[in-house]
Amino acid sequence: MLVIENIVTAYGKIEALRGVSMEAQEGRITCLLGPNGAGKTTLMYTVAGILHARRGSVRLQGQELVGKPSSEIVRRGLALVPENRLTFPEVSVRENLIAGAYLRLTRDKAGVAEDLERQLVRFPRLRERINQDAGTLSGGEQQMLAVARALMARPRILLMDEPSLGLAPLVVEEIFRTIHELNAEGVTVLLVEQNAHMALQIAHHFYLLEQGRITFSGVPGALQEDEVIHRAYLGGSGASSH
């Protein structure tokens, strides 16, 4: 569904992504693991059109996304839940959610209201806090809000950048349950994680990104998994010298 080929993204002269190729198959959960600084968030921003690739191609259902503005990418059915949640803190929960449907706000009021209701059914906690500013929510609630906001765009593929970051274990489990449910409903998921143990429990396929390159690709449960997890946390292949 989403095919990434030889993507190079640079900050000035420093290439953060040095030719990344990977794929997220329709209806599946694909997980991208990797240590800090590997380029995971850079890849997510590049795919979502926030950063611009220097070279390479990203195709969503055959259509090229590189060079397209983010509005076009969202319209084609890709939504990003950014790292650190990044809700709009001084804006109410309701407006945060409505902002998720930004591109069809004026054309499809009834549809937006319907989707809003759907998200509030899915995340009852958000209904309780609907008039509160997003900044007053707990970390877990903000993550729920960020997911719900992304779903307001009616994505076919959801990119989630480290949804478990800084959350308590129970909350992390809830988030992963949500991801699993969404996938069961037919949403394709590309999940970036450092919490490899949790991620590999729900992933169908995973990749390891190290220093701007994909260094491993496989299915969970394979023999190399321990080493991959080690490298996902620590980086470098030195971890295998036991």
Partner: protein, 302 residues
């Protein structure tokens, strides 16, 4: 109404445009120390149009505000990607550049036997349109407040639209705004042009009421005040910056007891509010609360 009161009210109204122009940028998350430049560009532009070319006031003001809006949009193109301190310094540098250019601008023409036009740092005299056309101080004050009402009303309406939501989203965090499909760069250039036009309306009114302008009037302190009014008054609504202007000009400047200490009190007030209420007196939370209360009392009344 005494002349003094009319003078104070007119001043409040004119400076309010500058405060609103800084507010528009503050809402989108940009702190500009350079809004005085657009105030100045329009003051000169409209003054030249009416005093030298003999244009009617409305057309001169339109021209001045359009020039200011265009200048602001042009500045926004290279600065849209700057944030925080970098944006603040860039806008400050631009405003100083404009001031220095105005100091060099000498261009006088003969109008009915007198030489009229900007004379470098000596300024630009005889912008006499409202006196030549017998517009009274009260009438001009009504013009100021009429236009101010239009701008505040327009901004309030805009805040309820999709564009208003987009500007606020950008002000909160550009990355998720971009991720949701907002064209951040275009929105920021639009906001800058709008802020230039609003400052320009104030500048044009100012030139015609005072009749004499000089580059030194448009120094960085004017911009700092314009910015501070929004920070004091609050960023929750367009009424916030007006409250800031009223507090400073209406209260600090006009109450004799503060004479000579105004800047000290003002500076202290800014520092205090930034600590106690970082988003101003009328911040988003307060505005939500007031709006909700108004809606509730409306329900009770019916």
């Amino acid at each position: 109404m005494s002349d003094y009161l009319i003078g104070v009210l007119s001043n409040i109204g004119m400076i309010a445009f500058l405060a609103l122009s800084a507010y528009v940028l503050l809402v989108t998350g940009s702190i500009s120390f350079g809004q005085q430049a657009y105030f100045a560009i329009s003051a000169y532009g409209s003054g030249i149009a009416t005093a030298m070319w003999g244009w009617p006031l409305w057309l001169g003001m339109l021209w001045g505000a359009a020039l200011a809006g265009l200048a602001a949009a042009l500045v926004a193109v290279p600065t849209a990607r700057l944030h925080g301190l970098y944006f603040a310094v860039a806008t400050l540098a631009f405003a100083e550049m404009v001031r220095l250019l105005l100091q060099m601008l000498t261009w006088q023409i003969d109008v009915d036997g007198t030489l009229i036009g900007p004379m470098g740092s000596e300024g630009f005299r005889e912008i006499r349109y409202i006196y030549a056309h017998d517009i009274s101080a009260v009438q001009f004050m009504l013009l100021i407040y009429g236009l101010l009402g239009l701008v505040v009303g327009g901004l309030t309406l805009m805040e309820r639209t999709r564009l208003g939501l987009a500007l606020r989203m950008i002000g909160e965090d550009e990355i998720p705004a971009e991720a949701l499909g907002v064209n951040v760069a275009a929105c920021k250039i639009f906001a800058a042009a709008l802020s230039g036009i609003i400052a320009g309306i104030g500048g044009a009114l100012y030139a015609h009421l005072i009749t004499y302008i000089e580059p030194a009037l448009f120094n960085v302190m004017l911009g700092v005040h314009g910015l501070a009014y929004g920070l004091i008054g609050g960023l929750g609504t367009a009424v916030g910056p007006l409250l800031g202007v009223v507090l400073d000009i209406g209260f600090l400047e006009s109450v004799r007891a503060f004479a000579g200490y105004r800047m000290i009190v003002f500076g202290g007030l800014v520092a205090l509010l930034l600590i106690v209420r970082p988003r101003g007196l009328l911040d988003e939370v307060t505005v939500h609360r007031i709006v909700r209360r108004l809606i509730r009392s409306d329900h009770v009344a019916h």
